[in-house]
Amino acid sequence: MNNVIRTLKLTSAIAAFSVTAAHAEDVEVLHWWTSGGEAAALNVLKQDLETQGIGWQDMPVAGGGGTEAMTVLRARVTAGDPPTAVQALGFDILDWGNQGALANLNDLAAQEGWDEVVPEALQFFAKVDDKWISAPVNVHSTNWVWANKSVLDANGIAVPETWEDFVAAVEALKAAGITPIAHGGQAWQDATVFDAVAMSTGGPEFYKAAFIDLDEETLGSDTMKEAFDRMAFIRDNVDDNFSGRDWNLATAMVINGEAGFQMMGDWAKGEFLNAGKVPGEDFLCFRFPGTQDQVTFNADQFMMFDQGGAVSEEQAALASAILSPSFQIAFNKVKGSVPARTDVDGSELDACGQQGMKDLAAAASSGNLFGSMAHGHAAPASVKNAVYDVVTAHFNGEYDSETAVLELVDAVSIAK
């Protein structure tokens, strides 16, 4: 052991330029928002804190939709050195909360009235045992369809309202020699489409029973088979090279008029705006046919790690800044999502953003707001990935719809 220590001393002597841990008056934030717009938006938060004299230690780790960041988080927690705040999604927050690793933000939440302004479906992921443990940043909704307006106009297609309309529109595009649906064949993208299709096929009760309550009967029902059949229809109407494609490139196909529709979350809007397109004029955003009243969501939050029992002043300031209306608007304007609190003025957002806010508020009050299965807000990660496996295998022709239903029931029961 002495030798190890000697080696260590040697190492540290040579590597004298080691980095110091977070200062007492700093917040350290682990997140995966590193691409241009998102990172710039987060900088707003940083500057906000700096005006209050609080330093920001940035700890960005991108990749795998947060997977890498979660891996790093495990390492940090194991080392006994968790960051102040960590970007996280859905069940990951609850898992950490249940381990007792997160701070209790109830005092702050009561003071600022979070209970009144944050939709209940979202609170489910921000609280454990009635304690606020994380600060929600935004709500992404995933049941959007993005369309190239001039392509639809040229083929005399109106915004489809029902699945039948959608089928007709797809057939019309196919007849015109245009790829009807732009899609990237990656498991999470397949599952994103599946979310919307299942919701549209069976309605909200079916969706809830299958993906949130994980009811075996519903998972194995004929309606589920119907949903898989509809997925097969979509599979037949994507181009040959869909597999493995990044979603950005699928969006580019719609932007360039090579394809008519893409089913993707609201982050796709950024690609359109970046290409200089105007919502309503160059491209359309609408809810997946048959899910006009529903919103399936995923929400980014910052979970706050316990700093030795109490919520530190800096941590409270960070949480409060995240929930402040000005940051919520400034951030979501760039991110494409909508604010996590429903009481802010959305007039600064573009047409799609305003539509999104309206839909969210309506769905939240009518009980039509559901966590997205594909994005880990309906069931825990193990179940989510089990569903991915089946949906992707079916989409790639490994299973027919009947087998897929059976496999789904099996996979979910193993993962539960």
Binding site: T11, A21, P60
Partner: protein, 293 residues
């Protein structure tokens, strides 16, 4: 010890020679292809790439992606580009390579010239350690770094890389020193030279080639490591690969492929440089050592 020479006794005819050149050039094409894609796309505006022209030469040539990747691209919340992370990598790689090479050289020296009972087993144990998948050591390693108080420091990262580099450096040096005449060591011993003296005066002076091999190998592996860098470095102490990963990976953001490729080439510059500068000695080093029994 073999003397470096490109002499060969094999003779080939003219037809065969043409064929050989053709085959060799075909392989050049194969090896250069991805680099071509990366370089070409790093010099185009993004619209040309998303427009579908991934394989063609740029029609509107631009170096802007390079400038952006280096100094203004968003890597964290601040638009710093890859530049600040460059130094982080250097300050991690240099000590890690140095320590693991020194340890490897000493181990190789002991395992061949100071043999004792069970040394082969020890070597086997060390060699097998090269095969451990890094993903499984992450959590226990984090715990140990936490206990040692090295979590989130460059020193901690150096330690990790030394631990998992020492197997290979020992392998290289052991095989190299195995071919070194043991009589010289014995003779020096009889003259009263000590352990370190023999190493310093007799083995080290002729170790140049294998040091090159070992340094190239360790440098490449440590420079390109992502998993440990991401897990055990703090945010602004993160190595280049973590910054590169942050630059190119984004799940719900706009992807600037041209900047990604420029950044990737920039991040690989030091290793490419090492290969080009030291490459001449590389084969010589391998030849003199690691592939001989």
């Amino acid at each position: 010890m073999a003397v470096a020479s490109s002499d060969t006794a094999i003779r080939t005819g003219r037809f065969n020679r043409t064929l050989i050149y053709v085959v060799l050039l075909l392989f050049v094409l194969f090896y250069m292809l991805p680099l071509y894609i990366m370089v070409v796309n790093s010099m185009k505006p993004l619209s040309e790439i998303t427009g579908g022209g991934m394989m063609s030469l740029p029609s509107a040539f631009t170096l802007e992606p390079w400038a952006k990747a280096w100094s203004t691209a968003q890597v964290g919340v601040e638009p710093t580009g890859l530049r600040p992370y460059f130094w982080n990598s250097i300050s991690m790689v240099v000590p890690a390579v140095a320590i693991s090479t020194v340890l490897g050289a000493l181990n190789g020296y002991i395992l061949t010239k100071w043999r004792f009972r069970g040394d082969t087993i020890l070597f086997g144990l060390m060699l097998f350690s090269c095969f451990i998948p890094f993903q499984i050591v992450l959590i226990p390693m984090a715990a140990i770094l936490g206990i040692l108080g090295l979590s989130g420091t460059t020193a901690g990262l150096v330690l990790v890389h030394v631990v998992y580099g020492v197997g290979f450096s020992t392998l290289y040096f052991r095989n190299y020193y195995a071919a070194f005449p043991t009589e010289l060591v014995r003779a020096a011993q009889i003259d009263g030279a000590g352990f370190f003296q023999i190493f310093w005066r007799i083995l080290l002076p002729s170790s140049g080639p294998i040091i090159v091999v070992c340094v190239i190998w360790q440098f490449t592996n440590i420079w390109n490591d992502f998993l440990f860098g991401a897990s055990f470095a703090s945010g602004d102490g993160a190595p280049m690969t973590v910054a590169l990963n942050n630059l190119v990976q984004s799940s719900t953001g706009v992807k600037e492929y041209n900047v990604h490729f420029a950044g990737a080439i920039l991040a690989a510059m030091p290793t490419l440089l090492v290969y080009i500068v030291a490459g001449r000695y590389f084969v010589r080093g391998l030849m003199a050592g690691s592939v001989k029994g």
